[in-house]
């Protein structure tokens, strides 16, 4: 049996885009935004490809959850080298619990040895879906991975924590979430892009998965955050220290 690596990816606004609240106050205005694979998920795709390069008989399957618009980003993952893609049609936005419901069902059906996904999506910044999934499957988890050394039956993972690098070993099947410094994702090559056009994107509906969306997070408002700082420019260090002496309690 092949070693299947499942890589869930989320379509998010490019991190360089300016985020503005839409007039209805319940969404962001996406009209001027371009979309990418969540950067942490792109790192997960890259790591899956590297695992495939160093062990036998690995299949890398990327998953996208969302509407039909979610195609370019999946093609990008395929162009990087993923073997195939699955797109689950679902309403957006979807909260982490419902994302994990879909992924758990896919995991039961596809029996991956490893689910590799970003530690957080840079749109809602929840950082929950991977842990939810591991909990529901009863699998071990290694979150915020900055290094993965896989062996036959498991992996040793270095994790970025608030207090330094923690190392754990886990048995497969497992969920690993990826941090920034795990790798630098490759760019798709031209042959990769051409090959990706022929690779399959399989559409699956929630009905087929027998999943009903059960909302856990209801968004009731969005507010733009703006800075109210004066941004006073000072000429020299003496002026700066004078301002700090007058306006802070630190001296």
């Amino acid at each position: 049996m092949s070693f299947l690596v499942l890589v869930p990816t989320k379509r998010v606004p490019d991190t360089d885009g300016v985020i503005r609240v839409a007039p209805d106050g319940l969404d962001v205005d996406t009209s001027h935004l371009s979309f990418v694979i969540n950067p942490f998920d792109a790192i997960a795709v890259e790591e899956a490809l590297r695992i495939r390069e160093r062990r036998d008989d690995v299949e890398v399957v990327v998953v996208g959850i969302g509407a039909a618009a979610y195609e370019d980003e999946l093609r990008t993952a395929l162009a990087m080298g993923a073997d195939r893609a699955i797109r689950v049609e679902a309403p957006e936005p979807l909260d982490p619990w419902n994302v994990s419901s879909i992924l758990a069902e896919l995991a039961v059906r596809l029996e991956p040895q490893l689910v590799l996904m970003g530690k957080q999506a840079v749109d809602d910044d929840s950082a929950q879906a991977g842990q939810f999934l591991a909990a529901r499957l009863g699998w071990p988890q290694a979150t915020f991975a900055s290094r993965i050394d896989d062996s036959q039956h498991g992996a040793t993972v270095a994790r970025e924590t608030d207090h330094g690098i923690e190392t754990v070993s886990i048995t497969f099947p497992a969920v690993i979430t990826t941090d920034l410094r795990l790798n630098e994702p490759r760019y798709a090559s031209l042959p990769g892009i051409l090959a990706a056009r022929k690779k399959p994107i399989q559409d699956i509906t929630l009905e087929e998965l027998q999943i009903e969306i059960e909302p856990r997070v209801e968004l009731v408002g969005l507010e733009q955050v703006s800075s109210s700082r004066t941004g006073q420019r000072l000429e020299n260090v003496s002026q700066l220290l004078e301002c700090l002496r007058e306006n802070t309690d630190l001296f």
Partner: protein
């Protein structure tokens, strides 16, 4: 209404974020005349339990299978206590620890979870939680559906409550060691010893960015300026990626969120991802050679110039005082 706060500690000391979470918990409970209990897990952690008892009642799960903070075990035990205590809200301070352990506990408890909460209000009997999204560009108000609720709160959004005149009770929790999973093995923490406080706990934070060229320069300039204030050092992502600074110094959307009394950004341009981690600091100073650097837009005071000239002068003038 019962709030359970999961304690984060280093084996001997309660982390400052947990005290802030207890303060936030008391604010929540105060709305409904409820209670707040702190859950302390680990091995040989009597000292931590006593520190937590200064704020109120404590449940203590002390067992060798909990010696290391492994999410699969700690989440299982925590979720069990939430159920047996019929807690309405499971709370923790936002941190990598909480994301790992409470995230998994949230998965065991039905997924009604909000991360990095910065505030709340009551609206017709519902809790409305405020939390940042899109690297802090917007603040979302969310209502969680289901029960219990799992919430992580930014320590910067709450304050440690005063110590109680009489410490709270410490009640042992029975640990079913046989029933806990053993699929993860803890191999260690590589923590660089530092004489400086943690970046999330200091009154003054001095952070360095791309303008700082070497590790020695970082230590001499950023570290040197921090030391004048007995402060902490922080780092932009660029320096961590370049291997100049350790990951636990990173301030930003994917690193730590800080709100000290004074934040000095040295050679940091101010990408939104970095601003997400520091823009709520009380006073912000920016030093950058690029007059158009976005960091100046969130700063109270800025000096345009070469950090290699300005920072030594600051250290010198402050030392002369």
């Amino acid at each position: 209404m019962h709030v359970l706060v999961l304690a984060e500690h280093d084996g001997t000391r309660l982390r400052a974020g947990t005290a802030a979470a207890l303060g936030f918990g008391l604010e929540l409970a105060g709305h409904d005349g409820g209670t707040v209990t702190c859950l302390v897990l680990g091995e040989h952690v009597d000292g931590v339990a006593q520190a937590a008892a200064a704020y109120g009642d404590v449940l203590l799960g002390d067992h060798t299978v909990l010696a290391d903070p492994l999410a699969e075990r700690w989440a299982e035990v925590t979720a069990g206590v939430v159920r047996s205590e019929a807690a309405d809200i499971l709370l923790g301070a936002s941190s990598t620890f909480a994301r790992d352990v409470l995230g998994r506990a949230g998965g065991l408890l039905g997924g009604a979870m909000a991360s990095d909460v910065t505030g709340f209000r009551r609206d017709e009997g519902r809790w409305v939680w405020q939390r940042p999204m899109y690297a802090g560009a917007v603040t979302a108000s969310v209502v969680l559906c289901g029960s219990p609720l799992v919430v992580t709160v930014r320590p910067t959004a709450a304050q440690a409550p005063p110590h109680r005149p009489q410490p709270g009770s410490i009640t042992p929790v029975e640990i079913d060691a046989e029933g806990l999973p053993g699929l993860t093995t803890y191999l260690g923490l590589d923590s660089r010893p530092s004489h400086r406080p943690d970046v999330t706990e200091a009154r003054v934070v001095v952070s360095g960015g791309r303008g700082v060229k070497t590790t020695d320069d970082f230590e001499r300039l950023v570290g040197g300026l921090a030391d004048v204030f007995d402060g902490a050092t922080g780092s932009s992502r660029a320096l961590v990626d370049a291997g100049l600074t350790p990951n636990d110094l990173q301030v930003g959307q994917t690193g730590k969120v800080v709100a000290p009394e004074l934040y000095i950004a040295v050679g940091i341009s101010g990408a939104v991802q970095h601003l997400a981690g520091m823009k709520n600091s009380r006073t912000i100073v920016a030093i950058n050679s690029d007059p158009h650097a976005p960091i100046f837009e969130v700063a109270d005071y800025g000096i345009v110039g070469d950090l290699y000239d300005i920072v030594p002068e600051m250290i010198q003038q402050l030392d002369a005082d």
